[in-house]
């Protein structure tokens, strides 16, 4: 192993790379400091603490490796795209790592020049003269080949994204294209330059044959300097434009993962954690196809990828429009490999709004509610606003409770207060908290030990925001399933009845309840699945999450969701949300029923 530039260790061609590298490192360093600075003090301490806690520190390393380099989530969704991304990311990482190993093994005094590992083959001669040397050279060629296969796929994909099963991709901005083309150029140029010098530096199965061919073709080795220059320039351009392109997601995600593992949540709609979130979105566009709103062309630009983009650009008008239209169904977050929380980001934007009328509920007396609840109540049923509009559900729930011989009372027999979730969905947390306070007072005073709910919208806020001590908060789908298992409800199963279960967003993605309702449905008939189900179920379109979508504009969303449910040609659609029920009822061709009604009919 011979250092060709033993005295200086320098050649001017490394300059473009060096400038780009210093720039991007400085940029990322200050960006990181700024974001950590913007976190609330409590979160900052929590973050630093998590970095030194062995369990979270290990989780950070593991998650960064699996998500940023291997792209496991993408593999699961689309193996072709998974291979494409991980071949480039992991291959590049390996090349950089192997470069460092080479320098450390053979020229340890050069490790402080951080271009040596990148341009090792330019600076050394007879690199493969030792066993380790030739193994490393082999690995270098191997990973370069992997990257090149990924790049080739990327090029094909750009021009034929349909083959890869993506209906819509985002359009690139000018700088994004510069970044993209320089990224594409880096690896073929590396192959060329290493091939041109392979008879000096040594090489392996790729570079050596190419070198023979070049020598035979050109008859001299005059071409190697221009290609090394070009390689360095491509690297330099890529790194200089990186902060202004979607490739910023690479460093951003490495900060996002530890922050998320530290349990930090979005507080400020733009700063701190929210800033890392929007920076971590590479604009892959997976959320566009997933979003239920995108059945209509006019809504395409309201998906999470565009929210992130507009926040990066600071376009307030569009940010407000995009934030207000969303159904908050959570599907985009479910499919996103970065895990950008679309609904939370939007709620944070909504909470920015200033109002001149601020509702308050201090005039509302809770005593009449408390007095109406008999003492000794064990199960307290809260129907909630939505169930009051679908009285059939309430009737079935009460009838099932009677059949099971449960002792219960109804908290809001003639209508009560709202649970607060719809208000919270509008970003008005202060108002919501006041409603929570009133309801909490009633529930605690009732002396119950189970709070039964039939609306997932209520259920979610009760689970997440209410502090009810030992009182068990339970959704009727879970509760009735338990009663069936305990033998307190005898359901006569009708084999021939095919039922499809629709996962309500707030119950499924919102609270992670998927299996109990299905078990209960299976007790009444034969369960069939929708095309997209469980965490990927499609919102009915009725959601209170959207502020600006009027009901006529939701028809397409609902029809698409019904269509998805009809995949197994069921005899009826079963859901566990009063709002889904009334929304589907408008457009479905088969009967739509709440789970409680289905069970009650068969009991």
């Amino acid at each position: 192993m011979i250092d060709r530039f033993a005295n200086s260790g320098f050649h001017p061609f490394v300059l473009p790379f060096l400038v780009g590298m210093i720039f991007v490192l400085t940029y990322c360093f200050f960006g990181m400091v700024r974001i950590i600075w913007e976190l609330p003090g409590k979160d900052r301490r929590r973050f630093f603490l998590s970095l030194v806690t062995p369990r979270t520190a290990w989780k950070n390393v593991k998650d960064i490796f699996l998500n940023c380099l291997i792209h496991v989530k993408l593999w699961k969704r689309n193996p072709v795209l998974g291979y494409m991304h991980s071949s480039i990311a992991f291959g590049w990482f390996m090349i950089i790592l192997l470069g460092h190993i080479e320098v450390m093994l053979f020229l340890p005094e050069r490790i402080r020049f951080f271009y040596y590992p990148i341009f090792f083959n330019f600076f050394v001669a007879e690199g493969e003269s030792t066993i380790q040397g030739s193994v490393l050279m082999f690995l270098m060629d191997f990973f370069l080949l992997i990257i090149l296969s990924g790049i080739a796929m990327a090029i094909v994909k750009r021009f034929a994204s349909l083959w890869f099963g993506m209906r819509r991709t985002t359009r690139l901005s000018f700088l994004d294209s510069v970044g993209l083309y320089s990224l594409w150029a880096i690896f073929p140029l590396r192959l060329l330059s290493e091939s041109f010098t392979a008879h000096i530096s040594g090489g392996s199965f790729l570079t050596v044959p190419m070198n023979r061919m070049f020598v035979w073709f050109f008859g001299n080795d005059m071409n190697y300097l221009p290609t090394w220059w070009a390689y360095s320039i491509a690297l330099g351009i890529f790194m200089i434009v990186l902060p202004f392109t979607r490739y910023m997601h690479i460093p951003a995600e490495m900060l996002l993962i530890p922050l998320r593992n530290a349990g930090i949540r979005i507080i400020h709609p733009r700063k701190g954690f929210a800033r890392v979130q929007v920076r971590s979105c590479p604009g892959c566009g997976v959320c566009i196809d997933a979003c239920p709103m995108s059945v209509k062309k006019e809504n395409l630009k309201d998906c999470t990828v565009y929210l992130n983009r507009q926040i990066r650009r600071g376009n307030e008008k569009r940010i407000a429009e995009i934030s207000d239209k969303c159904l908050l169904c959570g599907k985009c977050t479910e499919v996103c490999q970065v895990g950008v929380p679309g609904p939370e980001m939007r709620l944070a934007q909504r909470s920015l709004r200033k109002y001149s009328i601020n509702p308050h509920y201090s005039n509302i007396q809770v005593d009449p509610f408390i007095d109406a609840i008999p003492t000794g109540t064990r199960v307290l049923y809260f129907a909630g606003c939505m169930t009051h509009l679908t009285p059939g559900i309430k009737k079935s729930v009460l009838s099932l409770l009677d059949k099971a011989g449960a002792s219960y009372s109804v908290m809001d027999p003639d209508g009560g207060l709202c649970c607060g979730r719809p208000m919270m969905m509008a970003g008005r947390d202060e108002q919501a908290r006041e409603m929570i306070r009133l309801n909490t007072e009633i529930i605690r005073a009732s002396g119950c030990n189970v709070l039964l709910l039939s609306c997932p919208i209520c259920y979610r806020i009760f689970k997440e925001k209410y502090k009810l001590g030992n009182i068990r908060i339970v959704h009727h789908s879970v509760y009735f399933n338990e009663l069936i298992h305990a033998g307190r409800l005898k359901v006569n199963r009708e084999e021939a009845l095919k039922l499809v279960y629709h996962d309500p967003c707030e119950l499924g993605r919102g609270c992670g309840i998927y299996d109990e309702p299905r078990e209960a449905v299976s007790a009444a008939g034969t369960l069939v699945e929708a095309r997209q189900n469980h965490a990927e179920s499609i919102c009915c379109g009725g959601s209170l999450g959207s502020i600006t979508l009027s009901y006529e504009k939701r028809e397409g969303i609902t029809r698409n969701s019904v269509d998805n449910l009809m995949a197994g040609s069921p005899d009826a659609i079963v859901t566990a949300c009063p709002l889904c029920l009334s929304t589907f009822n408008k457009y479905a061709d088969v009967p739509v029923k709440d789970l409680a009604t289905v069970l009650d009919e068969k009991c």
């Binding site: 009328i357 005039n363 009051h388 208000m423 209170l544 502020i547 009901y551 009334s582």
Partner: protein, 112 residues
């Protein structure tokens, strides 16, 4: 002197003196609100009506008559529960209407 009866204050509205701009601005944002037929379904289901007399129908009417204090009073207990939206036969997005009214209210001149 007690005549055994009293006169209620005049409820006549002088349209030259009141400010109707809130209604117009809300209608500019969502023209759908002009299609209200005053059926009262929203009032019948309203969660807040028992506390502040809230009714989307009345809010729309009061805005068109410039009776802004009534509007403010009614809105002050709305819980944004969305029942009114669900029952409205004209498909009016009442939650959007309520939120925008709360937001834009202060820029309107006081009651006549």
């Amino acid at each position: 002197m007690d005549f055994g009866f009293s006169l209620s204050p005049s409820s006549a509205v002088n349209l030259d003196k009141v400010d109707l701009s809130l209604y117009d601005r809300l209608a500019a944002i969502d023209p759908g609100i002009r299609t209200c037929i005053g059926c009262g379904s929203c009032s019948a289901t309203c969660t807040a009506s028992a506390y502040s007399g809230m009714s989307v129908r009345k809010v729309l009417l009061a805005m068109q008559r410039g009776r802004m204090q009534e509007v403010e009073k009614m809105l002050s207990n709305c819980m944004l529960c969305g029942k009114c939206t669900m029952v409205c036969p004209r498909g009016i997005n009442t939650r959007r209407l309520i939120l925008n009214a709360c937001r834009l209210y202060a820029n309107v001149e006081g009651e006549a």
